[in-house]
C-alpha cells in the first residue's frame, strides 16, 4: 500500500511547492519602508530647479510618490492610468523623475500629459537608492504623518487603482 501511496505523496508535496513557486513574484521585493517614515530628500523641482521639495513640505496630506523616467518603457503604459487618476483629485501625486534628462522629461510630460502635482529630479539616482528603488516605475503611498504605507513595483493598472490605491487613500485621508 505504502509503495503506491508514497509516490503519490511525493507528487502532491512537489506539486504544492511548485504551485506556490509559480505564484511567487521574485521581482517584487517587499519594501522595508512599509510603516516606516518616508526617507528624507531635498530635491529640485523639474519645472523650477530653483525650488526644492522635501517630504516635510507634504506633511498633513496623503501623497503618492511615483518614480518615473522618460526612458522607461512601462512608464508609458502607466502614464495614461495616472493621468485619469489625477483627474479625480483624490490625492497629491508627486513624481520622482529618476535618472533622466530634464529636457526629455519635460517633453514627455508635454506630449503625454502631466498627472503630477509636482515632479522632482533625481539625476544621479541617490534619492532612488534612499527609497530602495530598483525598478521603474514604482509607486509609494505616504500618509499624513509622512509614514510609507504601501509600495507598488511595476506599472500601476486601472484595476490596481480601484482595488488597492483608492480604498487605501480613502482610509488614510479619513485618518488624522
Amino acid at each position: 500500500m505504502l509503495k503506491y501511496l508514497l509516490p503519490l505523496l511525493i507528487f502532491v508535496v512537489m506539486a504544492i511547492f511548485l504551485g506556490l513557486g509559480l505564484n511567487l513574484k521574485p521581482n517584487e521585493i517587499p519594501s522595508p519602508f512599509i510603516d516606516k517614515p518616508a526617507p528624507s530628500f531635498s530635491a529640485a523641482k523639474l519645472d523650477n530647479p530653483e525650488q526644492k521639495l522635501t517630504p516635510a513640505d507634504l506633511k498633513g496630506q496623503v501623497w503618492l510618490f511615483n518614480v518615473w523616467a522618460s526612458w522607461c518603457v512601462s512608464c508609458r503604459e502607466e502614464h495614461e492610468v495616472l493621468n485619469q487618476f489625477a483627474q479625480q483629485k483624490a490625492v497629491t501625486i508627486v513624481g520622482l523623475n529618476y535618472k533622466d534628462d530634464p529636457a526629455a522629461a519635460k517633453n514627455w510630460l508635454q506630449g503625454l500629459g502631466n498627472p503630477y502635482d509636482v515632479s522632482i529630479m533625481d539625476q544621479d539616482g541617490r534619492i532612488g537608492i534612499d527609497w530602495g528603488v530598483y525598478g521603474v516605475p514604482e509607486t509609494f503611498v505616504v500618509d499624513k504623518q509622512g509614514i510609507v504605507r504601501y509600495k507598488h513595483t511595476g506599472p500601476v493598472s486601472a484595476e490596481d487603482i480601484q482595488a488597492i490605491f483608492l480604498p487605501l487613500i480613502t482610509k488614510l485621508q479619513a485618518g488624522t
Binding site: D124, G128, Y134
Partner: protein, 152 residues
C-alpha cells in the same frame, strides 16, 4: 583541435570584460570594497552581484559603496545601509532570522529526510531478506534440482 582551443579561449575572454570598478585610496579599503560588491545582489538582474552587473543601478550602488568606504564607514555600516533600503534580499548571505530559518535549515532538513529514508529502506531490505530463509528441507530440494540441472 586548434580551432576548438581558439573557440574555448574566446569563450574565456568573457571573464576579461571587467565591469567598471572603483579604485579606492588604500588596499584595505579596496579589499573591503571588492568583498562587499561581490556580496550584494543587483536588484535589477537578481542573479548577479553588483560587482558582476552592468545595470545602472548596480553602478550606482558600487559608487555608493565606494563613497561610504572613503568616508571611513565600516563594512557593517554599508551592509546596514543597504538592508535598510532594500531588505535582506540585497544580501547574498542573509542573516539568520525566523523568516530566513527555512533557507538556512532547509538543506540540513532535506539531508535528514534523506538519511531517514535510506535507513528505512535498508531496514526493510534486511527484514525481507530475513523472511526469505527457507526451511532446510526445501533447501535440499533446491540443491538437488540444481545438481540435476547441471548433469543434463
Amino acid at each position: 583541435m586548434k580551432y576548438v582551443s581558439i573557440i574555448v579561449l574566446l569563450m574565456l575572454s568573457y571573464w576579461a570584460v571587467a565591469v567598471d570598478t572603483q579604485q579606492l585610496a588604500t588596499p584595505e579599503q579596496q579589499a573591503i570594497y571588492e568583498s562587499l560588491t561581490s556580496e550584494l545582489r543587483c536588484l535589477v538582474c537578481q542573479n548577479q552581484t553588483i560587482a558582476d552587473s552592468n545595470a545602472e543601478l548596480a553602478a550606482d550602488l558600487r559608487r555608493q559603496v565606494a563613497e561610504m568606504l572613503e568616508q571611513g564607514k565600516s563594512k557593517q555600516d554599508v551592509i546596514n545601509f543597504m538592508t535598510e533600503r532594500y531588505g535582506d534580499f540585497v544580501l547574498y548571505k542573509p542573516p539568520f532570522k525566523a523568516k530566513t530559518s527555512l533557507l538556512w535549515l532547509g538543506p540540513g532538513l532535506f539531508l535528514l529526510f534523506g538519511v531517514i529514508a535510506v535507513l528505512l529502506v535498508v531496514r526493510r531490505k534486511k527484514m525481507s531478506s530475513a523472511g526469505a530463509i527457507i526451511s532446510s528441507e526445501k533447501q535440499k530440494k533446491i540443491s538437488k534440482l540444481l545438481e540435476e540441472g547441471d548433469g543434463s
